[in-house]
Structures are given as C-alpha cells and as structure tokens.
C-alpha cells in the first residue's frame, strides 16, 4: 500500500484542482465531436465506479466481484423512477444512488466476517442475483429492458446537451475523487488501512471494525450507484445484457490495473481498460484474447498496478513531500494523573475459560491495584495470555466476573473494553504494517478524535487542526518509548524490539487506565531491555496501571510491585517479588518437584 504522491493540503493543490476542472470543462468544447463526448461521458462515470471499488479493494483489502450488481441498482432505480413514475432527473438520480447505498449496507452484513474466497463468494452471489433479477423480473424487463428513459434535464426542465451532461458527470467525478482523496488521508483512510494490518489490534484501541467495514461498503456502493445512474440516462435504454459478471471482472481489473490504494490508480486503470473496446473495435473476433491477456499481464507483471509501480521508481519517490516537522506535545500522558486514587483498577473473580475440553483458565481471582505494576508469570501454557485475552474481550469468559473498580462489566468485544480504559500489546506483534510509525500511534487516538465522516470528507478546519494537535501528542509518545526519530518510516522497517515499543506507544494513545503488556521483552536485546524497564517505570510514574506478562525474571522482579503466578490455569501464588521467589509452589511449577530432578540441573 502506497500513500499518495500528492496530497491535497494547500493552495497549490487547489490550483491543481482548478486546472483539472478547467481541462475537463474545455475538453468537449475543443474536441466537439458527438462520439468523442459520448466516450468521455462513459469514461467519467466508469471512473467513479472504479474509484468506489478501489475504496473497497485498496483500503479495506476486500475484493468485490459483484459491483455490476450495485451499478445495476443505481441504473434500474433511476430508469424505473423516471420512465415509469415520471420523476424528474434531479429526483430519480439521487434515489438511484441512495438505493445502491442501501444495498451496499445490506451486502456488508454477510461480508463482515467472511474472508478470502468466502468473501469473494458473497460478492459473486450478489452480482449473480442482480444479473438474474434484471434478466427475469418483469419489472426490469429482462433482455427487452427499459425503453425511453428520459434524458437528463437542467433545473429549468429543459434537456441537457451532450456537452452539458459531460460537464455534470465530470464535475461529479472530480468531486468524488476529491472526497475520496480527503477521506483517504484522513482518520478514516488510516483506520481502514489499519484494519488491513490487524483487525484485532485496531479493536484493542477502540475501533469498531464492523462499523468501518460497513462504511467502506456503503461509500463504495454509493459510487457504483452514481455510475449506474449516469449510465442509464446517457443511453436512454438499459437491459440485462449490461449487468453481468464480466462487467464486475472488468471493474475490478481496472481498479487493480491502475494500482489499488493509490490516488490516481483508479483514473489510469479505468481510462485505459475502458478505452480498449473502442480502440480494438475492429478486432472483434479477438477482443477477448486481448482483454484476458491484458488482465493476466497486469496481474502477473504489475502487481501494484501502473501508478503503484511508478511510485516505486526512485526518481518519483524523491518527489514525495518531506514530512512536516512535528513538535511533541508532552501533555499526552496527563490524563492518568488525576485518576491516581487508591483501590483496585481491575478485579477479576473466578475467571474461567475453556477451549473445547481444554481448560485454559479455571477460576482465577486477581485484583490489580491502581498505580502499580502488576507482574504475571508462569510456565508456558499456564493461562497468562488467555487471561489478557479474556479481560480485553478478545475471548468471552466461560465463567467469572470482570470488574472495573466497583463496576461489573458485561462480556463485550475488545473495542468496548478499550472504551473502558483497558488496552494491550500483543505477544506476537500486531502492527498496522501499511502505516508509518506515527500513523500507528495516531490510530491509537481513535477514541479521542472527534471529527466525523463529513468533517473528513470536506477536510474542515476543525478536522485539520485536530489532526495536527494529535500528531504532536503522537510524537510525544514516540519520544517516551524512544523511537521518535523513526516516526515517518514504515512500521514494518522497525527492529523487532522497536516494534514492541511502538505497540506500547499505540496502546498508550488510547488513554488506558490499565495497560496490559503481553511479553514486552520477548526477542528484545539486552540494551533494549534496560530501556524497556525504564519505559515501564515512566508509564507507571505517569499514573497508568500496568499488567506485565513476562518470562524474563530479572525484568519482572525488578519492576513489579506485586506478582501473580499462574500454573495450569490457576493462580498458585501472589505477593512481592521476594515472597514469590521463595514460594515452594512457584519453585515446583518452574523446576519440577525436587525428587524428580535427579541430576540436580536446573531446567527453567
């Protein structure tokens, strides 16, 4: 995934937009040929559909082989509303777009949990249902189609000329592109990319995964609906021959060919692919060879698409704007200071979790005192990670209570637990690999960022200011964990130990009352280890309560106020480092019972 070369952020960008608008306005005037204008109209609305598909493919990593169905919903709705009900263009068109959006929302439901080929099936099934419906339903007219769809009209009721209609379509296309670009570089785009990296990690900082996926589906469908509406009124006649599987394939190909997830990929891809039938019209017997060949060559040799591959070229990479200097805002950790009262932050009673017949946790009681570092140790498979997973809502407890202070929490998903102030890091690192280091932290601020969809679409002053303020806070968190100088690098370029630190910074961004670190020292070298224990102390000093799972005894004994020891899913000991170290049960759990240890060697 590549971030766009050009991002709209200043007057220079608006000059570019104005230039694009001027070129589009002049095109039909300079080349005043009916066929040319018709082709331009088609290219413009197919671009909108491709862009919508790219929002799904490039941003959420979901594939859709059923977009022809959504395109059909828009086309048939406006066709029926205007030809049969006599609604004017200005009413039937928005109706078509809205209905396509609704279908997208409905389609999102079976798509939410399905992955890979199963997800492909959902979209294929939808596409085929639309195809069969348009072919067989009396209302849609099947192959006979719907005739005499009224041409688009101006607000005064007079018919638009082909040039005026092109201006309308091109204007909407430009607007769609700007909105998508704004969304792409805003919190929404970032969150969607984060979901591609790791859904569970995004949930751990409070992202409601379902909501975002539905959002992406709806936006994508609205764009498809817009395209369908323009198509219907351009032709004046639609029938079932258009809305077939091969149209969905063609749309997906144009998204991938240009480069999915790039700013100009959909434009390049849709223009090239949709010009092919016009250019090769004389080679009708072989057009499927050409078409199939182009798809194959694109997929095999240009996996990033045309624009994506260009962006990889060193000469063009240098064109990218250097990142702005960000002043760290060190007030970011102040949130925890006021909450430094006494009493437990988390109380767990009788917590149990079974997987089939395996009891990973059987009746554990733990109370974590506010403002402390609470260590959690135990041999492998003793239930430590399961404990974190249940408390953070990744797994549902089989039995037991989880209480936040005095309040008992009902079982709920990880994004809800993040709202209650419980966040975590992961034993096997789960970063948002498509994002930069600082953007990983920015996703962590998810629950605090207030500007909504419209603010981001329009890039309002408030949304931009909020974003800038939180970048400062993110920088301060990166400073805290000591990787500020890597802020603009891709997260995947960090060393293993640095990736663990980034996870801590991201979790801190969510303003946790309780931060759970699952083996933060695993795979970390001795220098980094020293660094890590200092960071944990700093976080504690800021007022955040920590639960630390660790196998590194020196670290855990050094930093913990209280240590709980798990073995076979039960708590076998608890107390200060010194007390736990002397506990016979703990020694047995780690080293085995004395008489079994014939040679006296230590097998820890």
């Amino acid at each position: 995934m590549q971030l766009p070369i050009f991002a709209f952020s200043g007057p220079k960008d608006w000059a570019l937009v104005a230039l694009a608008a001027l070129i589009l306005a002049l095109l039909p005037v300079v080349f005043d040929d009916p066929f040319f204008i018709l082709v331009m109209q088609s290219l413009a609305y197919l671009f909108i559909v491709t862009l919508g598909l790219d929002i799904l493919v490039g941003w959420t990593g979901q594939i859709s082989l059923g977009h022809a169905g959504l395109y059909a919903v828009g086309a048939y709705t406006t066709a029926l509303a205007s030809a049969r009900l006599g609604l004017p263009f200005w009413l039937s068109a928005p109706l078509g777009v809205a209905l396509a959006g609704l279908f997208g929302a409905a389609l999102a439901v079976p798509s939410l949990r399905a992955k890979g080929p199963y997800l492909a099936m959902v979209t294929i099934a939808f596409g085929f249902m639309a195809e069969v419906t348009s072919n067989r339903w009396s209302l849609t007219g099947g192959p006979m189609g719907i005739m005499s769809i009224p041409p688009p009209t101006l607000p005064d009721g007079s018919e638009m000329t082909a040039t005026q209609y092109f201006w309308l379509i091109a204007g909407v296309a430009l607007l769609c592109h700007l909105l998508a670009a704004n969304l792409f570089r805003s919190r929404m785009g970032r969150t969607l990319l984060a979901l591609q990296g790791s859904e569970i990690a995004a949930q751990s900082v409070g992202v409601n995964v379902y909501r975002y996926k539905v959002l992406a589906f709806v936006i994508s469908s609205v764009y498809a609906g817009i395209g369908g509406v323009f198509f219907a009124h351009q032709n004046g006649f639609i029938n079932s021959d258009t809305f077939v599987f091969s149209l969905s394939v063609s749309l997906l190909t144009s998204a991938l060919m240009g480069g999915s997830g790039t700013l100009f990929g959909p434009l390049v891809g849709s223009v090239i692919l949709n010009l092919i039938p016009t250019v090769f019209a004389s080679l009708h017997d072989y057009h499927l060879y050409i078409y199939g060949g182009i798809i194959l060559v694109t997929i095999v040799f240009l996996p990033r698409g045309i624009v994506g591959s260009l962006q990889q070229m060193p000469a063009l990479r240098r064109l990218r704007r250097p990142p702005a200097v960000i002043t760290p805002d060190r007030s970011v950790l102040d949130f925890a200071r006021d909450s430094a009262q006494d009493g437990p932050v988390l109380v767990v009673r009788g917590l149990a979790k079974s997987f089939g017949g395996i009891r990973a946790l059987s009746g554990v009681d733990v109370a974590i005192k506010r403002g402390t570092v609470h260590g959690l140790i135990g041999p492998n498979g003793s239930g430590k990670s399961t404990f974190v997973n249940v408390v953070t809502g990744v797994f549902r407890a089989s039995a037991g209570k989880i209480m936040l202070g005095e309040r008992e929490l009902p079982p709920q998903g990880p994004h809800r637990m993040a709202q209650h102030g419980i966040t975590r890091t992961f034993q096997s690192i789960r970063l948002f690999v498509d994002l930069s280091v600082i953007d990983n932290v920015m996703v962590g601020f998810h629950l605090q960022l207030k500007s909504g969809l419209w603010a981001h679409l329009l890039q309002t002053r408030a949304a931009v200011a909020e974003e800038a303020a939180y970048r400062g806070k993110a920088m301060a968190l990166l400073e805290l964990v000591g990787i500020a100088e890597r802020a603009h690098d891709p997260a995947q370029n960090l060393s293993y130990g640095q990736q663990r630190l980034l996870e801590i910074a991201r979790a801190l961004a969510a303003r946790p009352q309780l931060l759970m670190l699952d083996e933060p020292a695993a795979g970390v070298n001795p220098t980094e280890l020293h660094h890590l224990s200092r960071i944990i102390r700093d976080i504690k000093a800021a007022g955040v309560t920590l639960l630390v799972i660790e196998h590194h005894m020196e670290l855990i004994m050094g930093i913990s106020d209280v240590i709980s020891v798990f073995d076979f899913g039960q708590k076998i000991s608890e107390g200060s480092a010194a007390a736990v170290r002397e506990d016979k049960k703990v020694i047995e759990a780690y080293l085995g019972v004395a008489e079994a240890d014939h040679d006296g060697a230590v097998h820890a």
């Binding site: 995934m1 493919v57 990593g61 594939i63 082989l65 439901v109 079976p110 939410l112 949990r113 399905a114 992955k115 890979g116 080929p117 199963y118 492909a120 099936m121 959902v122 294929i124 099934a125 939808f126 085929f128 249902m129 069969v132 419906t133 072919n135 067989r136 339903w137 569970i200 599987f245 091969s246 394939v249 997906l252 190909t253 991938l256 999915s260 017997d285 072989y286 057009h287 499927l288 060879y289 078409y291 199939g292 060949g293 798809i295 194959l296 997929i299 095999v300 996996p303 990033r304 997987f355 990670s385 997973n389 990744v394 992961f426 034993q427 096997s428």
Partner: protein, 295 residues
C-alpha cells in the same frame, strides 16, 4: 397427483445428476485450495473445453466415448499444469492475496475466445452414448445419461478421496496441504505436488464437461454458470471439507431442480440467495472449520 410425483422424481434425478457435477468440480476447488490457498475461477471453462474437445473426439473423429473421456481428461489435466505455471505460481507472492482470482478469470476469458474461434459460438448437440431414449421408471421419464452422470461423478469423487487417503502420492498431497514446510522437510517436492493438484483439479472439471454435455449442449459459454455454482457448493460445504463439498453440490443441485418445478425464475437465483444466507450465519460455510484466532 401422479403427474406431480413423476415430475418430482424427474427433478430429484436431474438434481442429483447436476448436483454430482457441481460436487465433482467443487472437489477440484478443494484440492487446490488446501494445497495452495488458491483455486481456479476458470474451472467452468475447463469443463467447457472438456466437453468440446470430447465432442471433437467422439463425433468428429468417431472415437469410442470412453476414449473421448480419457482424451478430454488428459487435455484438461495438461492445461491445469500450464495454468499453475502461467497464472497461479507467478501471482502467489503478490501483496494482494487474491490476485489469483483475477489471473484465473483472465485465463478463462482467453479460453472462451479460443473456444469461439475453434468451435464457433453456437450450441452444439452432444449425442449421448446411451441413446436419447427416455427411460420410464414408474411414471417418471429419465435420461440414462443422467443416471450415468450420477454414478460416474460420485464414483470419481469417491475414488479421488480414496486416492488422497490411501496412496502414497495422495498422502503426499495431503501432507503439503497440512503443512507445506514440514512436507518439504520430509522430502516431498512441494512445487511438483502443487502442479499435480492443479492437474487433478482441472482433469475433474474436464471430466465433468464431457459427462454433462449430452444433457445440456456443448458450446463456448456453457461453463461459467456451472463453475460458479460449483464454487457456491464448495463454499456451502466449507472449502476444506471434502464431505461438506459433496453434500453442498448435491444440495444445490436438488434445491435448484425442486424449486424449478415451482418457478423457473427462482431456479436461477436461489443458489446465490441461499449461499448469502449461509455465509451471513456461518462465514466459513455450513460445514467449514470455524476459525479460532490465536492472539
């Protein structure tokens, strides 16, 4: 009433025969999906090539049906190897994990064009080796070819499963499916097994084509819909569950034919509606393994 039962019987037999074709193709999806995580979206076009090439062997060259079957299976098998080398292997390293969807669709588009060039765009009658006479069983009239399809397709599905479970080569394939690296360490040539998986999968589609052609027609566009419906069958049962896939194929075949008795429009759309409902409830198919995410 007896007319109703006659129709019901016919629908059941037709449903089982078309369903066993779906199952046959879908087992092909299973074999490549478990070994590589990819499958051939052009499976339907391999079916079409099997049917048309079989037609050429059987009608044009006058070869015996059995020889035509073998020829069709061999050709599609070889095409499967070419598909793996040309459209699967080069894209499996790509970032977009579903590149193979489009690369195999591209191959299927090319195959359609080739079929139109070679055999023309018309529907061609494929004479059944068992004659065109309708077999009267009770009040129901059934084509002998339909019965042959059920026996041959289900027999093949069963034989393939026995092969995978009992033979050394089959076990090696399953080993690759289970754990690629471990299989490689044990001396199994993984790339070769992957090619083999696609050969087997494509051959099954080719066989499906020459089996089904006598009860439909043979033509360039015959494959797409059965290919997609077989995919629905595989998804219904769970792509990693061969028994679920077999059941999925038969259920979808029967569902279509039985609903076709009521309304022919329902017949076309029901499979896809049904699969959407199934996936909304069980995202890995009705009999698929539920994913437990390890965190």
């Amino acid at each position: 009433m007896s007319l109703f039962f006659a129709k019901l019987w016919q629908a059941l037999v037709s449903g089982l025969s078309i369903g066993s074709i779906y199952a046959l193709i879908a087992e092909g999806y299973y074999i490549t999906f478990v070994t590589t995580g990819a499958l051939n979206f052009g499976q339907g076009e391999f079916l079409m090539i099997g049917a048309l090439f079989g037609l050429t062997c059987y009608v044009t060259f006058g070869l015996p049906y059995a020889v035509a079957v073998i020829a069709a299976v061999l050709l599609t098998g070889v095409m499967g190897a070419a598909l793996e080398r040309g459209a699967i292997r080069p894209v499996m390293r790509h970032a977009l994990s579903l590149s193979w969807v489009l690369s195999t669709v591209a191959v299927s588009i090319i195959l359609k064009n080739a079929a139109v060039n070679l055999w023309g765009p018309e529907q061609i009658k494929f004479p059944s080796p068992f004659g065109e006479a309708v077999l009267q069983i009770g009040s129901a009239g059934i084509f002998p070819q339909e019965l042959f399809i059920i026996v041959a397709a289900l027999g093949t599905v069963f034989a393939v499963q026995m092969f995978l479970r009992r033979s050394l080569l089959g076990k090696a394939l399953i080993a690759v499916a289970f754990n690629r690296n471990a299989a490689a360490v044990m001396g199994i040539n993984v790339p070769r097994m992957v090619v083999f998986a696609f050969v087997l999968s494509s051959a099954l589609a080719g066989l499906g084509g020459i089996l089904i052609a006598p009860i439909t027609f043979a033509w360039a566009y015959m494959g797409t819909v059965p290919g997609i419906k077989a995919f629905a069958a595989a998804i219904f049962g769970g792509l990693e569950n061969p028994i679920g896939i077999l059941i999925g194929g038969l259920v979808i075949g029967l569902l279509e034919q039985l609903l076709g008795m009521v309304n022919s429009n329902l017949k076309e759309g029901i499979t896809f509606f049904f699969i959407l409902i199934v996936l909304a409830i069980r995202p890995t198919g009705l009999m698929g393994r539920r994913e437990i995410t390890k965190v």
